[in-house]
Subunit: 159 residues, 5 copies
């Protein structure tokens, strides 16, 4: 099944890290015969249409979107708009989109932001492949406090 998988990747020119590189590495590693189709758009508000085109016109099985969001209120509102539209695309196509976003204000240094972006992109690429090929495998991690962009925090021990 994995062999015939077709995965879409949407990234932006606004982003300051080429997250698709990490995503593609992970897909190739986990699903070496998967076909990958990539679309680049200017910014987050341009992502949902690209995701729809990949799912409906390119017939991708799932899509990972790689958004980069500035620190201002307007940036956060644009994030809401983009993420809501991605939900609409998922409900319309009934296909999985993993909506990855990096927020410029979640790190204090560029170095830290880079590391967050790489870690989050890689882990969510793996999540997408699992969801598309063996979704039941995630259940053993339910409630385990997994994090993308940071180390896992783990589950809370019962009191």
């Amino acid at each position: 099944m994995v062999n015939t998988l077709k995965v879409g990747v949407v990234d932006t020119t606004f982003s300051r890290v080429d997250m698709s590189k990490f995503v593609i590495e992970e897909i190739v590693r986990l699903a070496p015969k998967a076909k990958i189709v990539r679309k680049t758009v200017p910014g987050i508000k341009d992502i949902p249409l690209a995701a729809l085109q990949l799912l409906e016109d390119e017939n991708c099985d799932g899509v990972i979107t790689l958004g980069w969001v500035g620190p201002s209120l307007v940036d956060k509102l644009s994030y809401v708009v983009s993420s809501m539209a991605l939900q609409l695309v998922m409900l319309r196509t009934k296909k999985r989109i993993i909506d990855v976003t990096i927020h410029e204000d979640e790190a204090k240094t560029e170095e830290e932001l880079y590391r967050i972006a790489e870690d989050r992109a890689r882990k969510h690429a793996r999540n997408l492949i699992i969801l598309l090929t063996a979704p039941e495998e995630l259940t053993k991690f339910a409630g385990k406090g997994l994090r993308q962009g940071h180390p896992d925090v783990g589950p809370i021990s019962p009191p």
Copy 2:
């Protein structure tokens, strides 16, 4: 009627408490012959599609979703997006989803957060079963100040 019930449960790997455990215990207790289908996804934005798949493809009668939400503004905005999409799924399928969320900033200690999660998950699992099997039973509690995650606060006495 209860015997043939099919209930969906959606949880996340982001969550720090395995709330499905409590939910499943309650369902088994209240509706022992119900069939339970569980899906685990990475985080809250991945929940609505899973709920739709359970309701439309797995033909569940209702779904309970178990979200875990961080403390930042971005987390709260992601919560809005996820919850709005769950509304769309309900209106499309005309089936009930109980949208349970735990917010990391609603407790000061991990212990308290765990207790909130367990209490809210159990009580809302019961709510779902009631809504699916005997919804008219809730009317006697209308305006009674019931709470999930905390003790009930009760009704306000007429002045």
Copy 3:
């Protein structure tokens, strides 16, 4: 026309005041032959599906929903989600829903909150009956600064 009216009432177990009592009193007073169908759900996010069921499955002519909203940001965001879904139900069914909400932070004492809840519920029940039976009667109050939950503030005098 009033005789055959069918009105839906949706309330919650989260609410701390049984507002349906006031609503039903007003409906009985203004439209004594109206049929009333009531649904109780846990909280505000559960209201829109109940309203849809009343309008589409129970064939109600209109619905009044009685939400109770906590003071936190998450509560306000849940209010947005619920209210937006109610708009979707109205546009889909082309039937009227009066979306009544009480916010715990709009009063300083429980007594005041109770009075707000009663006043708002009664006045909006009357609004719903007017909208369903003689909507043109509202035009004489256009711009008159009517309030529900508080005394009317009246119109601003032209400068």
Copy 4:
């Protein structure tokens, strides 16, 4: 074309200024043979359904809605809900709605608020008539810093 125009006006009993009076005066002045259909509802969240009814059932060519919004966060959130639903009505009917709102916190005195309401209502009534009868006329004002409710601020001079 103007002669056969049918224009809908939606206002509220919550408003403290009868803005429809100004709107109707402007419509009569600019399009004397236009037919005007008016609907009054309690508050802003009741407006979108009324607008839909005017556009679909009364077959209006366009609608102007006259909302009045309180100063609290809940009021602003209700504004979002109402305005978003008006967008849905426009996209569904493919007809123009001018969504006028007055916010109680945008003036310090009642007198000033009245003047804002009158000015905004009149100017937007004119905008609606232009959009319905000769939309290309607005292009000469593109980028001109026109304001409704206040004097125009004019364009910014190129540096």
Copy 5:
């Protein structure tokens, strides 16, 4: 392909800079045979219907919208509403809209605001033409930290 391109431009009378001038210059330069259709509306909430009309009725291949947003919370909420509606138009028509907005509070002087508006309008006009004629060309700029309205910030160097 470029010769037969049809591009829609939507701007507002609220804007304080005639951004269409810059947009049209860029389109003429990059796609000299493209047909340009322009619509001017009062403000941002009027833009989505105009964009829909251009895409569906005028059969444009893509649209650029030029919004101008005030500094208040209400202005930002109106921005959310307008942008969300533009997403709906994109998903419905499956055609590209570039949603350009200038926020009055993103600059300290009128001069700076003018420069931002010109830069953002020109660069996004180019983005639209690229997306409509050779979308694969954007991929070489993925993750490069391009900005519209300001100089590009460039990519973050790997740590």
